[in-house]
Symmetry: C2
Subunit: 437 residues, 2 copies
């Protein structure tokens, strides 16, 4: 007995060649892939002629708690953005706000075909976890972790031991809870001691999870790390033994050749957040990283950094911008970018055994795309067009863990209109409390 | 008697402050703008609570005849793109193909809120004109004009006199025909003699229209112009007396400070095509041009150069990319980008007296946006979000010249499904005839 039979459709497994045929799902896992269906009866049959089936996108950096802050960071410099907008916003956020913020963020992820996010965390992780769980997507949770350094907002100061204990507590509660996993985090090296870095990496390894850390975001960060610890951030992390496949280096905008080589040789993955980078931080050398063999996933960052929280837009932007920066239209070809947005993202999060491609036995996280729109219907190569021409309106149905979260553009679990209305009102209330009106 | 009363909505006129109120349309023109409606009876009343009304976007560079070639230019270098993809495609295109190509391009423009395009032209202008006219949008037509130079495809070689006569003929037929106007064009300086340039500018001025010309696309173009005429393209055009408000410099990617100053001082407008530029040509200095006082509009270019033919995506990309290039998040602020995509675009095409903003007496080209989606509903500032967060799914209804071309996401004139199906089949047939399968 098959639970769901989808096809015939153009199936793009990502780790195998595209084919026209069927995907079958049983017990939440992919039970069959092939040009012909199995002979088993199916509880649900999804006729998908002309549709495209892809793995759910993997968003390797998604601040769900910032979703109610969309627009707070428009057209301002980085310090204004952080000190006058993001920190006041975060401090004004209640646990209930964080839950709603995560829920409405997850809705946007679903509408853009994303089924797995890595959330680097805010202050109310339990709320965030509940919001994400309500939407049904898969997530690697985190807690924003800082134990030192100047500039931390009042009310957000903890010792190294407190930071670690709070994370241990969250790991016990959420790691392996439904579709959620826990990831230890380090906010930035400005606000993390060497003791915290070392202990965090140890704990993540013991848990079998990864560490999320913002790395080399601005030139001033490297200057600070050189001044306080004698080397740039990436070099210092390497000396601490922190660089490796279980540390996700988020952003990695300001790197020299040797630092790129350090990432490559240590197997340390990068989360590239194109829109957020160009908007606020600078232009990372992603094409050079790929040439050097660095594993790169894609991410949206948070709503005030990237007002479009869409992996589909990130694919388009990442490819186009790197072509321009290198003045070489052949870098970041579509197949590589699609892989970055799916399988490589899952590898970067240590979850490629579970999801990231359409493969027998993996969990059934997949997206049905309707290419029959003015932006896509005439495309010469539908697989290439997944990166170059796809838009969120092509996302028709989304499945996570074998469960439909969206069918024919309707969310199955959520009264979307009611949630959006409440979120708009709550976002305005948070802005008022934070003094940003 | 008012024909259409829209409101109450958030009205963003672009050349005046946003307000909550009404837009009224009579005889195809904007007859009232205000917080309260007029007392006149209205033939049609559009309740628009919570909606946003903006001027229709102005796409200053839109190759409608390339629409069936979407995807032909993915991930290849410029010479492969031009010689092995675009020219064979264009030569394989029949007049009927060009008409369908223009129609399906116009559909995508409508779905993205664009009501005026400047089409730099292909080989079958009559077909293109019929396709655009069928969709109902406003357009500045052109004919791809070349009288000299190497590399022109066979079947596309004409003398200077032939090129001019063909354009005179088209101007007589289409300039002022319904919502269409005619614009003399020059493809690039590689393929245009000085005689053609001078005569073209003269004729455009006599017609009261503008010239569209691709300018400074690649460094090799400047090198070629220096070698053959003794100065870079912009300098040479200035010497010929061709630079001015009636020449639209398309792309303008490779300019030095003096050339930017020449554009500014002559009043020569630029059409910035962000996606196409970064994908194929390089990174133009748009922030520097704006600082120098150059008038800049936005454009999509053609489907093989920018697989998303959307002014909404161009706004987002233009702003983000220039912030990254200058490493300054304050350049290209949202209000300026919105103006580039509307009023400044209309000024660049010499049509700001007619359209480009919501102003009393201008033709009623406008868009109703539904912001009640996950990507927009929580935005702190809805006007800023028009650039930073807007997506095509927010485009609900589109009016051109007082006529609804789309109402509640349904095209009023066109059986969209039938057109898309035919276009997909026809695009495949063109690729086969051009030997690109």
């Amino acid at each position: 007995m098959t639970d769901v039979r989808i096809g015939p459709a153009l199936v793009v497994p990502v780790d195998a060649p595209p084919f026209t045929g069927y995907v079958e799902v049983t017990g939440g896992a992919i039970s069959h892939l092939g040009e012909a269906p199995t002979a088993a009866a199916a509880a649900e049959t999804v006729g998908a002629t002309g549709r495209i089936v892809v793995p759910g996108f993997v968003n390797t950096h998604c601040h769900t708690s910032q979703q109610l802050g969309r627009g707070l960071g428009d057209d301002v410099d980085l310090l204004t953005w952080l000190h006058e907008r993001i920190w006041p916003y975060e401090l004004a956020l209640t646990e209930a706000d964080a839950e709603l913020s995560a829920l409405v963020c997850a809705i946007e992820q679903i509408r853009n075909g994303t089924t797995l996010i890595a959330d680097p965390g805010g202050r109310h992780v339990d709320g965030m976890a509940r919001g994400i769980a309500a939407a049904g997507i898969r997530a690697l949770l985190g807690r924003s972790s800082m134990d030192s350094g100047d500039g931390r907002p009042k009310g957000d100061r903890e010792s190294t031991a407190e930071v670690l204990a709070a994370q241990d507590d969250l790991a016990a509660r959420w790691h392996g809870n439904g579709r959620l996993r826990f990831s230890y985090t380090l906010r930035t090296i400005f606000n993390c001691s060497d003791d915290l870095i070392t202990a965090t990496v140890e704990r993540a390894r013991a848990l079998g999870s990864v560490v999320q850390m913002h790395v080399a975001e601005i030139p001033e960060e490297n200057a600070h790390t050189v001044a306080t610890r004698g080397a740039t951030t990436v070099r210092h992390l390497a000396r601490l033994g922190a660089l490796g496949p279980d540390l996700l280096a988020v952003h990695a905008v300001w790197l020299d050749d040797d630092e790129i080589e350090l990432l490559a040789s240590s197997g340390c993955p990068v989360s590239h957040n194109a829109a957020s980078n160009y908007k606020i931080l600078g232009s990372p050398r992603i094409a050079d990283m790929l040439d050097a063999g660095v594993l790169v996933g894609l991410g949206t960052d948070g709503a005030p950094s990237n007002n479009r929280m869409s992996m589909i837009d990130e694919m388009w932007l990442a490819a186009i911008a790197q072509k321009g920066l290198r003045r070489d239209p052949t870098v970041l070809p579509a197949a590589a970018v699609l892989r970055m947005a799916t399988l490589d993202g899952a590898r970067a999060l240590g979850m490629a055994g579970l999801v990231g491609s359409l493969a027998l036995g993996k969990r059934a996280d997949l997206v049905l795309l309707d290419p029959f729109t003015a932006n896509f219907a005439t495309a010469a190569d539908p697989v290439s067009a997944l990166v170059t021409a796809l838009k969120s309106e092509n996302v028709e149905s989304v499945m996570c863990d074998g469960e439909w979260l969206m069918r024919d553009r309707r969310l199955t679990r959520i009264d979307e209109g009611a949630v959006l209305a409440e979120a708009a009102a709550r976002a305005a209330a948070v802005r008022r409390r934070a003094g940003m009106t």
